[in-house]
Amino acid sequence: MSLNRFLKQRETLLALILVAISAGVAWRAPTFIGLANLHEIATDSAILIVMALAQSLVIMTRGIDLSVAANVALSGMAAAQLSMHAPWLPIPLVLLFATLVGLALGLVNGVLVAWVRIPSIVATLGTMSLFRGLTFLAADGKWVAQHEMSAAFLAFPRLDVLGLSLLAWIGVLGIVVAVVFTRHVALGRELRALGGNPSAAKYVGIRETTLQLFVFAVAGAVAGLCGYLWVARYAIAYDGVALGFELQVIAACVIGGVSIAGGVGSVTGTVLGALFLVLIYNALPVVGISPFWQTAIVGAAILSAVILNARGDRTDGLRLILRRHPAH
């Protein structure tokens, strides 16, 4: 009866699968669950986790943002260019700059979706092409390579703070912010309500336009932040950065139980979904499976998750309970 328990079960199920995979891999290669490798996984997954969390907000309000990976490329390129021309700038300012660039790009999406009212899948399909093209233009078609970036620029994501890389800390911070926002901030609650029942939302004074603008702005800002992190971590900026990454971000959400029909999804689920993907990527080479299986496994995982998510309440009318014995 308790659907709540069922929901929780899905997340525990996912967590169990993660543990099982880790255990299975560790059995073949014990170093897999060693501190060093776990740290590596945490660092690897940070970008995917924060971007998936932002994307889950968009999906929760019945939208989709396909442009996030292109945003990563463009913001990353902008950050790289800034650092190239002004290597003396403190890194936090570069970070802020990348975030602001991302925010601006996200606002473009937000305006197109919330205000012009173009379906998000089309609007972000368009801006995806646009951002990728602009990335190319921004560098005049050239790549910004490792030797052109300052040492501080490259080192920042790997800085060790209390035993964790800064990148991993950003992932942790992202999770905390997401939990607080979706759980304890009224706006976060209203987002969920809007996605769950947009036509009813207006009866409780929820403004769809503002909220849509907001989620795309958040997705953009987070992508901008990740743009810098990506470029610094992989020490390269060009128009092909994070190509196809938007599908991984969406995959993390879907595997984590965020419903494309809106209103359903949790931070835990999304984080587990992202971890699942990263774990697969990391585990395959360890157990000697060709890394070429990666994409296929992700596809199979998405499909299984989607089928699991499909709940059998398509016939609303049948839920009406017929009382056999009318009162007196």
């Binding site: 399909l125 995806m128 296929a296």
Partner: protein
């Protein structure tokens, strides 16, 4: 006001057809696309003396014919309110299967049939998951995209299959009358068939009804799920055909084959005036959009403009094409409060 209440309502004259005004004709999406196409041809021909060369022009169709086939399948899918993002991945899988059969020594007919069959089977899988579990097609086809592309990667690794039978290349590289590519003829014939199917048959009308309002369509006695299944299979089949032609043309199967084509094909469809929400659009508009994008690309390549600029142009065109009419309507139309 009770005097309004009359059972014998005065007889209204209702025109048989919408009045054909010049203004309405001008504002039609297809007209705008046709004008844009003409403008592109004009600009290109002034900028480059090679543009209007018939051989160049005919050869330029190689660049978009396969994508155009995807777009035809997607036109019907999107009209019916669904989407298929997996088409390019289906192409990759179909191509790799053809490659394997080719390595095993099979001839062209088997390869062609295999390509089509793989496409059909992949489409059937999409259709089965969408109709069987009631899952939005966006997510399903993102999943199958990964699955199909992933299987391609598994089979190919980082290698490539370049060994195809001698006559196989003729399909994708050959010409009719020595000038028009076979691919383009295939596209034109199919475009005509799709236009007939969508605009002149019961199938097409029912498909519009489903795209507009699937529940009302079901109440009107249309087997909605069977239609959806058929559409995904058709889309898969078109992807299979596109894979046959592409593989034949380039004579090889590489892991990144047709990568990102789904987005280009969707852009063609949406730019062609098909509503992403389903229920409206025409094959004619999509054909015009395909030609428009093709001519712009061709012109830019003659001018040595990098392909990525084309990407920007495509993105802007897509957004502008959809935003402009909405904004114009909002500015000119009377303010309506909801």
């Amino acid at each position: 006001m009770l005097n309004d209440v009359k059972t014998d309502t005065p007889r209204y004259t209702v025109a048989d057809r919408a009045p054909r005004s010049f203004r309405a004709l001008c504002l039609r999406w297809e007209t705008l696309l046709a004008l844009l196409l003409l403008a592109t041809v004009f600009v290109n021909s002034t900028l480059s003396p090679f543009f209007l060369d018939p051989y160049n022009l005919a050869d330029s169709t190689f660049n978009f014919s396969e994508k155009a086939l995807l777009a035809l399948g997607l036109t019907l899918i999107i009209c019916a309110g669904e989407i298929d993002i997996s088409v390019a991945a289906i192409m990759a899988l179909a191509s790799v299967c053809m490659g394997l059969l080719s390595l095993a020594g099979f001839g062209t007919p088997v390869l062609v049939l295999a390509g089509l069959a793989v496409g059909l089977a992949c489409g059937a899988l999409n259709g089965f998951i969408v109709t069987g579990f009631g899952v939005p097609s966006v997510v399903v086809t993102i999943g199958t995209l990964s699955l199909f592309r992933g299987l391609t990667n598994v089979i190919l690794g980082d290698g490539a299959i370049t060994q195809y039978p001698a006559g196989f290349g003729e399909l994708g590289q050959g010409y009719v009358f020595g000038i028009i590519p076979i691919e383009f003829i295939v596209f034109l014939v199919l475009a005509a068939a799709f236009a007939f199917g969508l605009h002149r048959t019961r199938f097409g009308r029912n498909l519009y009804a489903i795209g507009n309002n699937a529940i009302a369509a079901r109440y009107a006695g249309i087997p909605v799920q069977r239609y959806r299944m058929a559409l995904f299979m058709l889309s898969g089949l078109m992807a299979g055909l596109a894979a046959v032609l592409l593989t034949s043309r380039v004579g090889s199967t590489r892991p990144n084959i047709a990568s990102g084509w789904e987005l280009e094909a969707i852009t063609m469809v949406v730019l062609g005036g098909v509503s992403i929400n389903g229920g409206s659009g025409s094959v004619g508009g999509v054909v015009l959009a395909i030609l428009l994008l093709g001519m712009v690309t061709f012109g830019m390549s003659l001018l040595n403009v990098p392909g990525i600029i084309m990407t920007i142009f495509t993105g802007l065109l897509l957004i502008g094409a959809i935003a402009a009419p909405i904004l114009i309507a909002r500015v000119s139309g009377q303010r309506r409060r909801v």
